[in-house]
């Protein structure tokens, strides 16, 4: 065995490290065991474990799929064998913060589709909501069971250099990634059981049962034992693995639009026994594609008549239609005020400080510090149009300035956050790489948060982008107590 341990020379620099703590600060107590164990491994041993895990991923087909016209190519989401470890104290903050946020999101959605109190009180600008592309006027006055709109919520959280948690984004439509949380744990326990030995790690296996329970709790009233289904766009969707996984964890049928039919405003699935009733649909399809009669007429993924069956209360959709307005970037900026408005509480999890450019002070601050801030158009998704001040050219900043002045309502700005890092096996060394965290909350009549969540890691040195499409991978996330 070599004298060099896998983490010799590991240097997180000025960032907060999820395993080793703050630069110059105290070592984290809850990571002592894992630090000791990593110190006893050499890099070859670590690499051997990583290879074993990777082979397993491939054989198990835990993949996202890229389709060419000829065939399906399966790619695995890169998995790093060094886990990200959260203390139970950290977790209490995240868990309560996520629950609070979900409660606020649901109250907000109920309000904007009923009395619009928050708009009348001027807390959130009216046109921000009513003019939003994801606002669905068809939902006005509709009462979803238990008042729940966002049954499944994923909240993206980062950690700054002081170790403070900040919410980067709410995902209130069809957040994905939870299957990796559970599969990563299984994989970790097969490939690296000794690393976890003797540690009390919060279990993640309960997600399917919790989800099935929550979905049953929001079934239309009067249905004794509801038939729940998971509705997927199909095997060609890149998240199909997750759809399969969740249907299986819940023990419910996985269906596509073509398997469903609406008769007399009731939804049925086509089975080998003929038509069988459907009461709750966990749909992994965007609003736009759900019902060609109401939304996009060309959609072949949906079911004609589904929306009307929904409005009549014969079937529950999870998440509800029209939740996209709540996870919009512009609405995000108002979340601290929204929490305060409905719950009369201060946010447990802070937003990344956000300048709202439709407000004079926010615009001024943005214009004054354009070169230091990240400026984001609110209407766009997927990082489109985002300008990162420190890495933008003079010309780009000049163009941005002109756009901001012409249309301030369309922008928010935020400081660049130095995301925390976690030791990560990269080639032949363990190096710091930036991570984020997406905890998943499930809400039926109450909210449950899966301990931990998805840790995504930016595998490129220095990169802050954790998306799988841009060189991101994932890690197992441990909550140890």
């Amino acid at each position: 065995m070599s004298n060099h341990s896998a983490v010799t020379g590991y240097e997180p620099g000025e960032f907060f490290c999820e395993i080793f703590g703050r630069a110059g600060g105290r070592r984290l107590g809850h990571t002592r065991r894992i630090r000791d164990r990593l110190a006893q491994l050499d890099i070859a041993q670590l690499r051997a474990r990583a290879r074993g895990a990777e082979r397993e991923l491939y054989n198990l087909g835990i993949t996202f799929t890229v389709y060419t016209d000829r065939e399906a190519i399966d790619r695995i989401l890169p998995f790093d064998v060094i886990p990200r470890v959260l203390s139970s104290k950290d977790w209490e903050i995240i868990e309560s913060g996520v629950k609070q946020r979900v409660a606020a999101l649901n109250s907000f959605l109920f309000d904007i589709y009923h009395g619009e109190k928050i708009l009348k009180d001027g807390v959130v600008p009216r046109e921000l909501v009513l003019g939003n592309a994801n606002y669905r006027p068809e939902m006005c006055g509709f009462d979803p069971p238990q008042g729940t709109y966002v049954h499944i919520c994923g909240i993206d959280i980062v950690r700054d250099e002081k170790g403070k948690f900040l919410v980067l984004e709410d995902n209130a439509r069809t957040p994905s990634g939870v299957s990796y949380v559970i599969e990563n744990r299984h994989l970790m326990m097969r490939a690296f059981p000794d690393l976890a030995e003797g540690m009390r790690i919060a279990d993640v296996d309960d997600y399917g049962r919790q989800l099935a329970g929550a979905l049953s709790a929001v079934a239309p009233t009067g249905v004794g034992s509801p038939n729940v289904v998971l509705m997927s766009p199909g095997a060609y969707n890149s998240a199909y693995f997750e759809h399969v996984f969740l249907a299986r964890e819940m023990g419910v049928p996985l269906v596509e639009g073509q398997d469903l039919v609406v008769e007399n405003h009731k939804v049925f699935m086509r089975t080998t026994h003929g038509l069988a009733p459907v009461h709750v649909i966990y749909r992994r399809i965007n609003d736009d594609f759900l019902d060609p009669k109401i939304f996009r007429p060309e959609s072949t993924l949906g079911v004609a008549g589904l929306f009307e069956a929904y409005l009549k209360g014969n079937v529950t959709l999870a998440n509800a239609i029209g939740t996209g307005v709540a996870d919009d970037k512009a609405v995000y900026a108002y979340m601290p005020r929204i929490i305060k408005y409905y719950l009369d509480q201060d946010p447990i999890l802070s937003n990344v400080p956000t300048n709202i450019c439709r407000e004079t002070a926010g615009l001024q601050k943005t214009l004054d510090h354009l070169g230091e801030l990240v400026t984001k158009p609110v209407g766009e998704a997927g990082g489109y149009g985002v300008v990162v001040g420190p890495s933008a050219s003079k010309r780009e900043l000049g163009e941005l300035r002109a756009k901001l002045i012409a249309d301030p309502n369309n922008y928010i700005s935020q400081p660049v956050i130095n995301l925390s890092v976690c030791p990560t096996l990269v080639g032949r060394a363990v190096e710091p790489r930036h991570v984020d965290l997406r905890p998943f909350a499930v809400t039926g009549d109450s909210t449950w948060v899966l301990p931990g969540g998805l840790t995504r890691v930016a595998l490129r040195r220095g990169s802050l982008v954790v998306n799988s499409s841009q060189g991101g991978g994932s890690k197992d996330t441990w909550v140890v107590g």
Binding site: N59, L60, V244, V255, M269, T271, T272, G274, L275
Partner: protein, 313 residues
């Protein structure tokens, strides 16, 4: 009751069929390679093409009928829907749609087999290696079958899986039989050299089973009757048809599926044809015609199943 989505019943049925098909194509290549090796007339790969009525499709892609190309066509050519690589790929794509309904082990086996097929190149198909490769493929399919037996839930889904498997196996046995008799020539009243029939029997793992029935002889007629009718032999057509019937009954009695006249009619027609048999004096031509008919009846059962159970009405 299962609430099995009709489309998924079809996927499961086809997993059963395609894995069985891959295994049998491997058997056919193996047996033909052995015949070719032992033949004085030289290799004849045309018959494999004839067996699957693939000559036109083949000639559209390859200039001449020769060993290397025919083997490539049937092992790795993904443009050929009846190649082993295509069968495994299709089984896996069907499995992908029903991953929540099959066991993780079944999915993993198919993945491993697919990954293995995808990495094969022409260099792996050299004739001196072909028998070993065919064995490997057969074993991969048998492993899948064993894993399914040991891990797949016994519900409706199991019935559909098994029906797919038995339909395909019956069909493939008729094709293997046809090929061997065609090879043996028209005049099979005269005892052919034992080697030929032994190769056939071994290729379907039936040599010892047959011997225990007929310790001394290798009468072509006995062999044909054995492969068609011996209900203790797992690849015999009659056994497959019987099992198919059992699963259909189970669908109704255990799983509450409606009884459907069209499936029952097709099944009865198949049983009747099988019971009638190829006649007392078997000639190659008569047997060929009989096997052709059986293939049609088997296909009719398959279509009736699809219309009844896979449409969801």
């Amino acid at each position: 009751m299962d609430n099995l989505i009709a489309r998924f019943a079809s996927n499961i049925f086809w997993i059963g069929r395609y894995v069985e098909r891959a295994e049998n194509v491997a058997r056919i290549l193996d047996i033909n390679e052995t015949y070719a090796r032992e033949s004085e007339e030289g290799p004849d790969w045309q018959r494999v093409l004839d067996l699957h009525a693939d000559t036109d499709a083949y000639l559209a892609r390859y200039a001449a009928v020769d060993a290397a190309n025919v083997v490539a066509f049937y092992v790795i050519d993904r443009d050929n829907p009846s190649s082993i690589a295509s069968a495994i790929y299709t089984a896996r794509e069907n499995a992908r749609s029903v991953r929540h309904l099959i066991s993780t082990e079944m999915w993993t086996r198919l993945n491993i087999s697919h990954n293995r097929m995808a990495e094969l190149t022409r260099r792996d198909l050299r004739l001196d290696n072909l028998s070993r490769l065919c064995s490997e493929i057969k074993e991969a399919c048998q492993t899948f079958e064993g894993v399914a037996e040991g891990t797949f839930l016994r519900g409706e889904r199991w019935c559909f899986y098994q029906m797919g498997k038995y339909l395909e196996r019956a069909d493939q046995t008729t094709r293997i039989l046809d090929m061997s008799f065609e090879r043996a020539g028209k005049d099979i009243g005269v005892a052919m050299e034992a080697v030929h029939w032994n190769v056939l029997l071994r290729s379907v793992a039936g040599y010892h089973a047959y011997r225990s029935r007929h310790p001394a002889g290798s009468q072509p007629r006995d062999i044909a009757m054995f492969l068609l009718y011996d209900k203790e032999f797992p690849r015999a057509v009659a056994l497959c048809v019987e099992r198919l019937g059992t699963r259909l009954t189970e669908l109704e009695t255990l799983h509450g599926n409606r009884r459907h006249d069209s499936v029952e009619t097709a099944r009865r027609a198949l049983v009747f044809a099988l019971d009638t048999g190829p006649g007392s004096r078997i000639t190659q031509r008569r047997l060929h015609k009989f096997l052709d008919e059986l293939q049609v009846y088997l296909a009719n059962v398959s279509s009736a199943l699809a219309a009844t159970y896979f449409s969801g009405r």
